[in-house]
C-alpha cells in the first residue's frame, strides 16, 4: 500500500485561469454551495444545542436561538441519563481521556520501533511480518472481534476477572489496530532518511537501541506529530471497540453519547442530544483546527482506519 506516500501537493497544477469568466464564476459557485452543504450540519448542531425544543418546532431548525442558553450543554455534560444512570457524558469523557492517554503513546512507541527495525535492521521474515501487518489494516474488525474477546477473556488477572472488559483490555485492542497504519507511516518515514546517517552511527559502534534513542527518535518529531493526531482522533472517535471491549466501567464518550440519545423517552430531546454531540466532537475538532495541514498529512495514511 503506497497510500502513505501520497502527500498533499505543493502547487495547483490545473490550467492557468484567465480573468473573471463564466467558468470561473461557476467554479466558485460550486465550491461555495459545497461549503454550505458541509457547514449546515455543524450550524444545526450548534444552534439546536442552544435553544429549547419549542424553538425548533415548525421548521425553525435554522433559526437563531431567542435566548441562547448553555443549559443543555450542562445537562448533557452532567445529568443526561444513559439507561438508569444520570451522570451525563462526563464519565465518558474521562474514560475516553484515560483510554486515549494510554493507547496513543503505547501504540506509537511500538510502531516507531517497528518502522525503525523494518527500515534499518531487516531480518529474515521481517518483510513477511510487515506484509501480514499491513494486510491486517484491511481486515474488517468484525472478523477479529470474537477471537480477541476469546483471547482477552482467557487472560486471568491476579485480582480476579479477566482482561476482557477492562481498561488494559481496550488499550491493548487500540494498540493492535493502530499498529498497521502507524508502522506503515513510520517505515515510510525512516526509509526516506539518508542511509549514511545510520551507517555513520553503526561505524561509531552504536547498536539498535542506542541509534534508536540518540539518532532516530529526535529526528522523528514531525512524523510523530502526524501519528499523534491520527491516533488521538482515531481512538477518540472509536465506537465499536469501546462498545465491545471497554466494559461497563470504561465506556468511552462515543458509546455514552449513543446511549444518551437512545435513552431519551417520549419526544426526542434534540437540544440535549446536539449539545452532547458537540461535547463529544470537541476534542477531535480542536485537534483538527489546531493541527491544520498536519492533519491532512496524516489523512492519506489514516483514512484506512475508518
Amino acid at each position: 500500500m503506497s497510500a502513505a506516500t501520497t502527500t498533499y501537493g505543493v502547487e495547483p497544477s490545473g490550467p492557468k485561469p484567465r480573468r473573471v469568466t463564466p467558468a470561473r464564476i461557476g467554479i466558485y459557485a460550486f465550491l461555495i454551495v459545497a461549503a454550505i452543504f458541509f457547514l449546515i450540519p455543524l450550524a444545526v448542531m450548534i444552534l439546536t444545542s442552544m435553544k429549547p425544543m419549542d424553538e425548533i418546532r415548525g421548521g425553525n431548525i435554522f433559526a437563531l436561538p431567542l435566548n441562547p442558553t448553555l443549559d443543555y450543554w450542562v445537562k448533557a455534560w452532567s445529568s443526561a441519563c444513559t439507561g438508569r444512570d444520570c451522570n451525563g457524558l462526563a464519565p465518558g469523557f474521562f474514560n475516553s481521556m484515560k483510554i486515549t492517554l494510554l493507547a496513543v503513546p503505547i501504540s506509537i512507541i511500538l510502531s516507531m520501533l517497528n518502522g525503525y527495525a523494518l527500515s534499518f535492521w531487516r531480518f529474515r521474515g521481517s518483510e513477511l511480518m510487515f506484509g501480514l501487518l499491513v494486510f491486517g489494516a484491511f481486515v474488517p474488525f468484525q472478523v477479529l472481534v470474537y477471537p480477541i474477546i476469546f483471547a482477552l477473556s482467557s487472560v486471568k488477572l491476579p485480582w480476579g476477572g479477566t482482561l476482557f472488559g477492562t481498561l488494559p483490555g481496550i488499550v491493548i485492542v487500540h494498540s493492535i489496530f493502530g499498529m498497521p497504519i502507524l508502522t506503515l507511516l513510520f517505515r515510510n518515514f525512516f526509509a526516506s532518511l539518508p542511509g549514511e546517517l545510520f551507517k555513520a552511527a553503526r561505524v561509531d559502534g552504536a547498536g539498535f537501541w542506542r541509534i534508536f534513542f540518540s539518532v532516530m527518535l529526535p529526528m522523528s518529531v514531525p512524523i510523530t506529530i502526524v501519528a499523534v493526531i491520527l491516533q488521538v482522533t482515531g481512538i477518540w472517535n472509536d465506537f465499536i471497540f469501546g462498545l465491545v471491549f471497554a466494559g461497563r466501567e470504561n465506556l468511552p464518550m462515543t458509546v455514552q453519547l449513543n446511549n444518551i440519545v437512545r435513552t431519551s423517552t417520549g419526544t426526542v430531546e434534540y437540544s440535549t442530544n446536539m449539545a452532547a454531540t458537540i461535547l463529544t466532537g470537541a476534542v477531535p475538532l480542536i485537534v483538527y483546527f489546531v493541527s491544520g495541514k498536519w492533519f491532512v498529512r496524516g489523512i492519506a495514511a489514516g483514512a484506512v482506519k475508518g
Binding site: S13, F138, T254, T280, G281
Partner: protein
C-alpha cells in the same frame, strides 16, 4: 549477530501479525464450520450448516443487498463529488485553505456524531422537511429515514458528508502530481480543458484513484457505527449491514453464525488483495518484456 535487539524490538509486531491477524482470522474461519454458541466447549464441526443458515436468513440477505446499494451509492458519490471538488480546488482559487478546512472537518468527527446530526436533519418533524414546508412548500417531502425503502439513501448522504473530503484530498494530491508540461502541451495542441481532463489527466491519476477506492471499499465493508447511531438498523431491517449482523450474532451468543458472516465479509477484502497482486504481477511482466 546484532539483529537480536531488532527481533526483540519488533516482538509486539510479530505477535500482532501472527497471533492476532493470522491466527485470529483462522480461528474465525474454523469456528464458522462449528456450532459454537459462546464458550468453546464441545466443539462440533457441522460442515457448511452455518452458511446454509446464513444464506437463508432474511436479515443477512437484506444486509448483503444493503451493503451493495450503500457501497455503490457512497463510493460513487464520494468519487464523483471528490473529483469535482478536487478539480475545482485545483483552479488556483482564492481561499483554498479555507475550503479545504470546510470540506475535511466532518472527517474529524466520529461516525456516531455524523449519524446523530443527520438523524436530526432528516427527521420529518424537526429537520429539513419541516424547514422547507415552513417556507410555504406544504407538500415537500424529504424524510428518507422514516421509510424502509429509502432509509439507506439517508445513510448514504450522511456518510458521504463525512467521507468525501478525504477522497477529495487524495485525488487533489493526484491532480497535483500530474506534470505541468502536460497542461502546456495540451494547450499548444488546442485541446479543450475538459478533454484534457478526461483523456489525459484522469488516466494519469490511476494511483490516487486506486488509493481512494481501496480506502472507500475497506471502510464500506466495515460500516457499523453509523448504522447504530443513525437508524439502529431500521426501520425494520432495512438498514442492517453485515457488520451489525455479525456483532449481534456474537452478542446473542451465536458465535458460529457470527463468524460465518464475518468470514463472508473477508471475501471482498481478499478480492482486493488478489486484484492488487494481479496488477503488480502484470506491471512486473510488462517491465520484464520491455527490457
Amino acid at each position: 549477530m546484532g539483529k537480536l535487539p531488532a527481533i526483540i524490538g519488533t516482538l509486539p509486531m510479530m505477535i500482532v501479525a501472527i497471533g492476532v491477524f493470522v491466527i485470529g482470522i483462522a480461528f474465525t474461519v474454523v469456528l464458522s464450520f462449528t456450532n459454537t454458541k459462546f464458550f468453546l466447549i464441545n466443539i462440533d464441526f457441522v460442515g457448511m450448516r452455518q452458511y446454509d443458515i446464513l444464506w437463508s436468513t432474511p436479515r443477512w440477505l437484506q444486509s448483503v443487498a444493503n451493503i451493495w446499494l450503500y457501497g455503490f451509492g457512497h463510493i460513487g458519490l464520494c468519487v464523483v463529488l471528490g473529483f469535482l471538488l478536487a478539480v475545482a480546488m485545483d483552479q488556483r482559487i482564492r481561499g483554498e485553505d479555507t475550503f479545504r478546512t470546510i470540506f475535511l472537518y466532518p472527517f474529524a468527527l466520529s461516525a456516531v456524531i455524523t449519524g446523530l446530526v443527520w438523524q436530526l436533519m432528516l427527521d420529518p418533524i424537526w429537520g429539513l422537511q419541516a424547514y422547507v414546508r415552513s417556507l410555504g412548500f406544504a407538500d415537500f417531502t424529504f424524510a428518507p429515514l422514516a421509510n424502509g425503502s429509502t432509509a439507506l439513501y439517508g445513510m448514504i448522504i450522511a456518510s458521504t458528508w463525512n467521507g468525501v473530503g478525504v477522497t477529495m484530498a487524495i485525488l487533489l494530491a493526484g491532480l497535483r502530481g500530474v506534470d505541468e508540461e502536460i497542461w502546456k502541451a495540451a494547450k499548444i495542441d488546442g485541446i479543450p480543458t475538459w478533454r484534457t481532463y478526461i483523456s489525459i489527466v484522469i488516466p494519469m491519476m490511476r494511483g490516487a484513484t486506486a488509493t481512494a477506492l481501496v480506502l472507500l471499499v475497506v471502510n464500506t465493508v466495515r460500516t457499523f457505527d453509523i448504522v447504530i447511531a443513525m437508524t439502529g438498523g431500521g426501520p425494520g431491517i432495512s438498514t442492517q449491514m453485515p457488520a451489525t449482523y455479525v456483532i449481534d450474532s456474537i452478542n446473542a451468543r451465536n458465535v458460529a453464525q457470527g463468524t460465518a458472516g464475518a468470514t463472508v465479509m473477508l471475501l471482498p477484502i481478499a478480492a482486493l488483495i488478489l486484484l492488487q497482486a494481479f496488477f503488480r504481477w502484470r506491471a512486473a511482466r510488462i517491465k520484464a518484456r520491455a527490457v
